[in-house]
């Protein structure tokens, strides 16, 4: 009882502190013409910080020289250029900061990282903490299995052991499908994608349920790319990936949205897509062979930052 009382005091103190900080931020951003938020910070320091992932092929990952490369990373470099032009800076230093799925949101929130370039799904829960710019990719939940197992639809999985990465929307969807369609699955959670794939490779699980684009890249970079097949039936509608930035920073978001919309609509956007999804990519020259889908073409024609899969 005594302990509980102390804890609730501590909790409410934290809440008060947090809201006080929110108020100060809002108040300092009241000037009409002056720069605010992230744009102000970039102008003053002459620096922009991009957060990258180390193994999110082909969105953002380290190549053979341990330098970040990738589709989303290239988009972020374009955004940085647009910010530089917008602020009329002669020089803008682009700083790089590695992030993981656990650190990406706090690092955006506390100001360490200005743009997060990776494979982050844009959803309503995340929008409580961060903002997203226009969608750069759409992916549906499917599964990968060994070709020899001859699995292709969701029904084929009945009674089997499947794996998914813990804490993802995908594991939530397979759990729901398992209950709704009474598939009798054993669902194993894995720490990350590489380990989940290892479970299929070693036979600990029959299938790995994940975003289809990630499955394609895992299969393509495995020891025997030809031994795996991705299911044709999907567990979800295509969900949007977006680049994250701080929320409640409308001027910065406007610059970023404009830059991405311009890029996606231009022929350059199409070339960028083709470079990373239909051609051999570093470091090992694998080819994901994922030509642009119809919803993806639409997302590029009319860029949107909506989290709703139905909008694409």
């Amino acid at each position: 009882m005594h302990f509980g009382h102390h804890r609730s005091v501590a909790l409410s103190a934290a809440v008060v502190l947090a809201s006080a900080m929110g108020i100060t931020l809002g108040a300092s951003g009241a000037g009409a013409q002056e720069l605010t938020g992230t744009l102000k910070k970039i102008k003053e320091t002459g620096e922009i910080t991009i957060g990258y992932r180390d193994a999110s092929v082909p969105f953002s990952y380290l190549d053979g020289d341990q330098k970040p490369v990738g589709y989303a990373f290239e988009i972020c470099k374009k955004i940085a250029e647009a910010v530089k032009t917008n602020l009329k800076l002669t020089k803008l230093e682009v700083k790089l900061n590695p992030v993981t799925s656990a650190t990406r949101i706090p690092l955006i929130a506390n100001g360490t990282v200005d743009l997060e370039c990776g494979s982050t799904t844009n959803n309503v829960d995340r929008q409580k903490q961060v903002a997203f710019t226009n969608t750069h990719f759409l992916t549906a939940t499917r599964y990968v299995a060994k070709k020899s197992a001859k699995l292709d639809t969701i029904e084929d999985l009945k009674g089997k052991t499947v794996v998914s990465t813990s804490g993802t929307t995908n594991i939530r969807q397979i759990n729901e499908a398992n209950t709704a369609r009474s598939l009798g699955l054993t669902i194993l959670p894995a720490k990350d994608h590489a380990e989940a794939f290892l479970m299929v490779e070693t036979g600990r699980a029959a299938a790995f349920v994940m975003d289809d684009v990630l499955l394609a890249s895992l299969a393509a970079s495995s020891k025997e790319p030809g031994a795996y097949a991705i299911s044709t039936e999907a567990l979800s509608k295509p969900e949007p990936y977006g680049i994250m930035l701080r929320k409640d920073d409308a001027p910065f978001k406007a610059v970023v949205d404009e830059a991405t919309a311009k890029l996606y609509k231009s022929p350059e956007g199409k070339v960028l897509y083709e470079t990373w999804f239909t051609k051999p990519i570093p470091p090992r020259g694998i080819n994901l062979s994922l030509p642009m889908s119809d919803p993806m073409k639409k997302a590029f024609e009319s860029p949107s930052d909506s989290a709703d899969p139905a909008a694409y």
Binding site: L11, N110, S166
Partner: protein, 240 residues
């Protein structure tokens, strides 16, 4: 910091559909406790045996004990976890390997065995030093009384040694408790894994890990309190 605090998140339903986020963390806590206790049983019994082996007069026994300790103490726990989970089923005969892979809750059993064997090497060292700390005269007195080696250990050496090493054993117990979090790498949904899923599902990163920290601290404090009570009760008279 531009962060949306929400401490009520614990009482919101988790997307797994089996209760709130708090329930999710509590189910993680129960796996953590189950893993810690089961592996401690292995660690304590096997560790005592190996520790005793290292103090026996027989050279062969000493060598077996030393080999065990050096092998399990010097390989990082994470590597051991992977070896038990991914490599052992491959080197077993085909049908056994398949049986092991299909076993329900196999990550729990693997974690218990791996942690048990790893912590046993550390307990063994505590037990050995505990026995070696005792005055040599105690062993001699046992022999002089006509006790066998087994009886000397059972009635003279071990009861004293365990009392001496209780404080470091408490540390080992707490290490073992915290090491259970390594099992998240093989898919055990213990407390840390649950805190991670919670932050992924809800995007409330700081709330999730604060809760996990408070829970770990809470259990550790309980263990320390119980252990210090036990220490006072079983102290060798005159030694404190």
């Amino acid at each position: 910091m531009n962060y949306n605090w929400n401490w009520r998140i614990f009482f919101e339903p988790s997307p797994e559909g089996t209760g709130t986020y708090a329930d999710m963390l509590l189910s993680g806590l129960s796996w953590t406790i189950a893993t810690a206790l089961c592996s401690w049983i292995i660690a304590f019994s096997l560790g005592s045996l190996i520790g005793v082996l290292r103090t026996l007069p027989s050279r062969g026994a000493q060598r077996v004990g030393t080999t065990y300790v050096e092998l399990f103490r010097n390989i990082p726990l994470l590597v051991q976890m992977f070896l038990w989970f991914y490599v052992v089923p491959e080197i077993l005969p085909g049908s056994w390997g398949t049986w092991l892979k299909q076993l329900p809750n196999s990550s729990f059993y693997t974690a218990v065995i791996c942690l048990g064997f790893f912590t046993a090497s550390r307990v063994a060292e505590q037990v050995r030093t505990g026995i070696e700390t005792l005055p040599r005269g105690q062993r001699m007195a046992g022999t002089a009384l006509g006790l066998t080696t087994w009886q000397t250990y059972r009635y003279v050496l071990l009861p004293n040694a365990y009392r001496v090493i209780l404080p470091p054993l408490t540390s080992e117990f707490l290490n073992n408790l915290k090491n259970t979090s390594v099992a998240l790498t093989i898919g055990l949904l213990e407390l840390t894994a649950r805190a991670r899923s919670m932050q992924e599902f809800s995007s409330q990163v700081f709330e999730s890990f604060t809760a996990a920290t408070v829970i770990y601290l809470g259990i550790s404090l309980i263990v320390v309190t119980v252990s210090s009570k036990l220490e006072t009760r079983i102290a060798v008279p005159g030694s404190r």
